[in-house]
Symmetry: C2
Subunit: 203 residues, 2 copies
Amino acid sequence: MDIEFWFEFASTYSYPAAMRIEALAEARDVNIVWRPFLLGPIFQAQGWNDSPFNVYPVMGRYMWRDLERVCAARGIPLQRPSDFPRNGLLAARVACRYATAPWLPDFVRAVYQANFSQDRDIADPAVLASCLASSDEDPALILAEAQSAPAKAQLRAQTEAAVARGIFGAPSFLVGEELFWGNDRLEQALAWATPSASSTTSV
Amino acid sequence: MDIEFWFEFASTYSYPAAMRIEALAEARDVNIVWRPFLLGPIFQAQGWNDSPFNVYPVMGRYMWRDLERVCAARGIPLQRPSDFPRNGLLAARVACRYATAPWLPDFVRAVYQANFSQDRDIADPAVLASCLASSDEDPALILAEAQSAPAKAQLRAQTEAAVARGIFGAPSFLVGEELFWGNDRLEQALAWATPSASSTTSV
């Protein structure tokens, strides 16, 4: 079965999930469907004009410490971004438009590393161009295409599809219509996608 | 070291944590400090007059499904309460007043089972009296003492202490001042309390 990986480039817990998913899915022979979307419109519909980690600063303080522990345990470098949440709109348009490109997983990881381990501004086209190093296409052409009307419409539709399927946060994983939310649930979602092997996996 | 277990009787994910913590802590030779508190005042300070799972129904729908999976994986019976969140005030006053009583862990589990596997009203003193079966004291005396002015003040102070220590949800675990939030983090919190053994524990 497939696992759909729904992610948002500004989302903190999407970072360890993005860094881990390819190796874990490969080990289980599960195909990843990459589904970038935007949390902004979803949060706005709940009355938040900012990340809930900023709206609720006590929760935010906890999240940063917890993320430190999560990343340390996985050997994933983390540097708290000086600006949070960063604007991942252009990066999401690229990832949505080129979701099946062979270089897409490298691009996704590079953008997350830029944001969460290099403290770079992922809204800056020059930063995104450097994240496209794995592609043999011209970054300028990719970025232009990502800002075309069809590409913009594609990301809007994908965000609407996220809402329609019950997604309210990131990262989320869908296996069929079974929804899993959070980096913590990645292993469980993969087990769900491989029922024959799931008896050996604790959830 | 000690682990402080901060729980609220209406909290869904506190249920599997409460059912699991004693055996896990015993296996690691960690002492549990039982810390009941109330989420209501904490949620109200954030502008919620109800459980966030009711305020945000999309998140609530997910939570119930996720809780089903969590409990099924642990062999913990779950019946979705017909009323949520139930009023755990009196139960919390009992647990706070008698936090070090030898029957306290049994009482805590019995109240959670009443709420989450038997669909009983834990605000009802008769239900709580039945949850006190492990005590050799008179349930009527315990319930009366729990409603005394000092007992009420004790729970209020404990809820204020939760806020002061950065707690915003339940279950929470404190090991020293290191905070862990969620049933998912129980194993990690216990590993934190036993540093010499933690290298064998994935987090």
